[in-house]
C-alpha cells in the first residue's frame, strides 16, 4: 500500500513533466484598511488534473488573502473559525502583545471568532499568518491555511521600488506537497510536487524592467536554494523584518521554512525572452532540509537533492512608468550594540535517540510542554541568544514577538544578505548562531511567546520552547510553580492523583480538554486527592489546580482506557 502511494505521484510527475505544460500562477487576493475579516473553512481546490484536493483556507480555496498593513495603524482582525476543528492564527514576525500573538495559547474553538488587535510597529516588509496549534500545525498548514501580509511604511514608500502588486511586485509562496492516487494531500515532510502560490508548473508574465519578488518559504520542511536558470545576478533588498541598508547582489539565496526575502531582478530590455526561477537544491548539503539523498524511508521525495523549477517567467513589454535601476541605498538600520546586552542565554538544539519514526529533535533537551516556561525575560531587556546546535541536521530557528540581528554564525559575521532584522535564522548542523534583540513594550506574565524550529513536523513533535516577558514570574504557566505539583499515574485509565509539596492546599481542580473546554470541576481543601476522571474519553487533558491564595498549577496527562 505504501509503495503505491509513493510510486503513483512519481509516475504522475514524470508524465506531466514530459508534457511541458505550464499553469498560470495564481496571485492571492488583497485586503487593505484597518479591519480585516478572515474566515477559515474546509474547502477543496483544483490543484492537479482530475479530482479536486480537499483543502482548508481563509476566505478562498487555497491560501488566504494578502493583507496590506501600514506601520503605525491599529489593525483589528476577526478570525472566524468555521473549520469544525480548533485552530489558531499566528502573525508571524510581528511585535505584539502575547495575547494577540496567535500561538498555541490562543486557540480558536470551532464556530467562534477571535478578534485580536494591536498597533503595527514593524518595518515595511513581507510577513505572514498561519495556524500554530500545538501538534496540529503541520496538518493545518498542509491543508493550505495561511496568507501573506505586506507592511508599508514611509521609508520604503519613499524609495523608487516596484510596488504594483501582481504586475512588477509579485508574491511567491513556495511549498511542496505529496499527493495520493485520488489527488489528496499526504501529510509528509517533503512533497513530490512544487507548488508556487498553490500552482504546479507555474508560469507568469513580467514586464521588461526591474521586478520585485516577495518570497516566502511556506514549506513544511524544505529549504529552497533559489536562483535563475541563466545564473543572472539578483538583488536582496530585505530580510524577514524589513529593508537591508543596501541591495545585496547574489546569484543564489537559500531560503528556509518560515523565512521571507524580497528580491529585485532587472529585466530591462529583455522583452520576448524567458527565464526560470529555480531551486538549485543539488547545490545544498545533505544536512540542509531538501538536500538529503535518501533512497529509502518516509523522507524520500521526487524533489529531494534535485534542481527544479519554481516559476517559468515570460518577459513582455515594459509598463508605462517602469523602474529600471536598482537603488544604491535603501535605509539606515541601527542594531543593538553587543555591549548593551543584559544577559546571554544559551538555547540548545540537539538530536534525541532515533525512535520508530526516525530521530526527533529537542530544544533545551526536552519536548515542549504547554505549562513549562523556559525563560522569564524582564521587560526592556537587551539579550544575546546563543543557539547552540549539536544536531546533525540544520534547523530554521524562529522566535515570536521580536526581530533580531545576527551577530555571528559559528563565530563568523553573517553575509551581507543576512545583516538585517530577522525572525528566522537557519542554524546549520553543529553550528552556533548568536543574535541580539530587545524585548520591549509588551509585558504579560501569564501569556508566553514561543521559540521553535519552523519545520512544522519538528515543531509539532515538541521542538519548541516558550518565554514570558514580565518582571515578576508568578501565576499560571510557571515552571517553578508547577514543580510543586505531582500528578500520577500518567497515562491514566480513569483515576488521577495529585500531590502538592510545601503544604500547598488545593481548593479547586479543573480538567480541561485539548479544545480548551472545561470538562470537569472539583471543589476540595487538601494537599493530595485522587480524582475520578474515568467518564472522559481517551486523549490529552490538562489538570489545573487552584490553591487557597489563587495560585494556579497545571500539568497535562493522557487518558488511555
Amino acid at each position: 500500500m505504501l509503495s503505491r502511494y509513493i510510486l503513483l505521484p512519481l509516475v504522475l510527475l514524470l508524465t506531466v513533466t514530459a508534457s511541458a505544460q505550464y499553469n498560470l500562477l495564481k496571485i492571492p487576493d488583497t485586503l487593505s484598511g484597518t479591519t480585516f475579516n478572515l474566515t477559515a473553512r474546509d474547502t477543496f481546490c483544483q490543484i492537479l488534473d482530475g479530482n479536486q484536493t480537499i483543502t482548508g483556507s481563509l476566505n478562498g480555496d487555497w491560501w488566504g488573502p494578502t493583507m496590506f498593513w501600514n506601520k503605525g495603524d491599529v489593525v483589528h482582525i476577526n478570525v472566524d473559525n468555521q473549520l469544525a476543528d480548533t485552530t489558531t492564527i499566528h502573525w508571524h514576525g510581528f511585535h505584539l502583545p502575547a495575547l494577540m500573538d496567535g500561538g498555541p495559547h490562543q486557540p480558536i474553538p470551532p464556530y467562534t471568532t477571535w478578534s485580536p488587535y494591536w498597533k503595527i510597529d514593524n518595518n515595511a516588509g513581507l510577513y505572514w499568518y498561519h495556524p500554530h496549534l500545538h501538534m496540529m500545525a503541520q496538518e493545518q498548514v498542509t491543508m493550505g491555511l495561511g496568507g501573506l501580509i505586506i507592511v508599508r511604511d514611509s521609508v520604503e514608500s519613499s524609495l523608487n521600488l516596484p510596488r504594483t502588486y501582481s504586475v512588477d511586485d509579485i508574491p511567491l509562496v513556495l511549498t511542496d506537497r505529496k499527493f495520493d492516487a485520488l489527488n489528496q494531500f499526504v501529510e509528509a515532510s517533503y512533497g513530490d510536487s512544487m507548488l508556487t502560490n498553490g500552482v504546479t508548473r507555474a508560469e507568469y508574465g513580467i514586464p521588461a524592467q526591474v521586478v520585485r519578488f516577495r518570497v516566502l518559504d511556506a514549506a513544511i520542511e524544505r529549504s529552497y536554494n533559489i536562483g535563475f536558470s541563466d545564473n543572472r545576478t539578483f538583488y536582496v533588498i530585505t530580510t524577514d523584518g524589513g529593508l537591508v541598508d543596501a541591495p545585496v547582489p547574489v546569484t543564489r539565496f537559500l531560503i528556509s521554512a518560515g523565512e521571507r526575502v524580497e528580491i529585485l531582478v532587472n529585466c530591462t530590455g529583455q522583452s520576448g525572452s524567458t527565464v526560470d526561477l529555480k531551486a538549485f537544491n543539488t547545490e545544498i548539503a545533505g544536512n540542509v532540509p531538501g538536500g538529503e539523498t535518501f533512497t529509502t524511508g518516509p523522507l524520500v521525495n521526487a524533489l529531494g537533492h534535485t534542481d527544479f523549477n519554481i516559476l517559468h517567467l515570460n518577459i513582455g513589454a515594459a509598463t508605462a512608468a517602469p523602474v529600471t535601476t536598482i537603488p544604491a541605498v535603501l535605509t539606515t538600520n541601527t542594531f543593538y550594540d553587543e555591549s548593551s546586552a543584559d544577559i546571554t542565554r544559551t538555547v540548545t538544539i540537539s538530536d534525541s535517540a532515533i525512535g520508530p519514526g526516525g530521530p526527533t529533535f529537542l530544544i533545551n533537551h526536552k519536548f515542549f510542554e504547554l505549562d513549562d516556561i523556559d525563560y522569564h525575560v524582564p521587560l526592556d531587556n537587551t539579550e544575546i541568544w546563543e543557539i547552540k546546535s549539536t544536531s546533525g541536521f540544520g534547523h530554521p530557528f524562529h522566535i515570536h514577538d521580536i526581530q533580531f540581528y545576527i551577530l555571528s554564525i559559528n563565530g563568523v559575521v553573517p553575509p551581507a544578505h543576512q545583516r538585517g532584522w530577522k525572525d528566522v535564522v537557519f542554524v546549520p548542523a553543529f553550528n552556533t548562531v548568536r543574535f541580539i534583540t530587545k524585548f520591549t513594550d509588551y509585558s504579560d506574565e501569564l501569556k508566553p511567546y514561543m521559540f521553535h524550529c519552523h519545520i512544522a513536523t519538528h515543531e509539532d513533535i515538541g521542538m519548541m520552547g516558550q518565554f514570558v516577558v514580565g518582571n515578576s514570574p508568578s501565576g499560571i504557566l510557571n515552571r517553578e510553580q508547577n514543580a510543586h505539583m505531582k500528578l500520577f499515574p500518567n497515562p491514566t485509565r480513569g483515576l488521577i492523583t495529585f500531590s502538592m509539596d510545601n503544604n500547598i492546599r488545593i481548593v479547586h481542580a479543573t480538567v480541561i480538554n485539548m479544545r480548551g473546554q472545561v470538562v470537569r470541576e472539583f471543589d476540595m481543601n487538601t494537599e493530595q486527592a485522587t480524582l475520578d476522571v474515568s467518564v472522559l474519553g481517551n486523549g490529552l487533558y490538562f489538570l489545573r489546580l487552584t490553591d487557597a491564595q489563587g495560585g494556579n498549577y497545571i500539568r497535562s496527562y493522557l487518558m488511555e482506557q
Binding site: T43, N51, R515, Q517, L558
Partner: protein
C-alpha cells in the same frame, strides 16, 4: 521522557483508530436509525434488497455537497435493481450546528433527496463501520441474511466535475455485483471532510 512516551502512545492510538473499520469481505453490522421523515429505517426490514449503497455524508462539508445530485441519480438508477442508497450523517451536531437533525430535514427537502437520510446521533454506526470522512461509501451485498462489505472508499474520482469522472468506484462495484462479477476496485481512500466526533 514521559512526554515522548505520551506522544508515542497518542500516535499508537491514532494508528489504531485509522486501521479500525470494515474491509472488503467483512460482515457489516445492520442499523436502525431515524430518517429525516421521522421514521426509523432498519436493515432488518430490508429482506428483499440485494444490497445497499451506504454513504456517510453530512450537510456542511463542501465536498459532500458536490455529491447530493449524484446520490439522487444513483438511487433512482439502482433502487429498481435492488440496490438502494442510504445516506447517514454521523457528525456531532454540537460541534457543527449545520449538521443537526433539523438541518438535515431541511436539506433533504431543499435538495429533494429521494433516498433515506439517517441521523447516527450516537455515532455508533460510523464507529462500527470505521467511517472517517464525508462522503465515504460502503457497498454492501446482502448474502444469506448478512451484509457483506464489497467496496469501501470514495464515490468516484472527481467531486466538482462529474463529467470528468474516470473511475466510478461505487457504481462500478454495484454493476459488477449485479452481474455476478468481482468488484474491480474493492477499496479506495475516502475523500472529504473529517467526521466530527463527540469529545465525551
Amino acid at each position: 521522557m514521559i512526554r515522548s512516551v505520551t506522544i508515542f502512545a497518542v500516535f499508537l492510538l491514532y494508528a489504531t483508530l485509522a486501521v479500525a473499520g470494515y474491509k472488503p469481505g467483512d460482515e457489516a453490522t445492520g442499523f436502525s436509525l431515524r430518517n429525516v421523515d421521522g421514521k426509523l429505517v432498519s436493515t432488518e426490514k430490508m429482506g428483499k434488497t440485494k444490497g445497499l449503497i451506504v454513504v456517510f455524508t453530512c450537510n456542511h462539508c463542501p465536498f459532500a455537497k458536490l455529491y447530493q445530485e449524484r446520490l439522487n441519480e444513483m438511487n433512482t438508477h439502482y433502487t429498481p435493481l435492488g440496490f438502494p442508497v442510504v445516506a447517514i450523517s454521523s457528525n456531532d451536531a454540537d460541534a457543527v450546528p449545520e449538521d443537526s437533525f433539523e438541518e438535515m430535514v431541511k436539506r433533504a427537502k431543499e435538495k429533494h433527496y429521494n433516498f433515506p437520510y439517517l441521523y447516527d446521533e450516537t455515532q455508533d454506526v460510523a464507529r462500527a463501520y470505521g467511517a472517517v470522512k464525508t462522503p465515504q461509501a460502503y457497498v454492501l451485498l446482502h448474502e444469506g441474511g448478512k451484509w457483506i462489505v464489497k467496496y469501501t472508499g470514495a464515490i468516484d474520482d472527481n467531486g466538482k466535475e462529474p463529467q470528468k469522472v474516470k473511475n466510478h468506484f461505487v457504481t462500478d462495484a454495484v454493476d459488477a455485483l449485479l452481474s455476478g462479477r468481482e468488484v474491480p476496485v474493492a477499496a479506495t481512500k475516502s475523500v472529504g471532510c473529517a467526521i466530527k466526533w463527540k469529545t465525551e
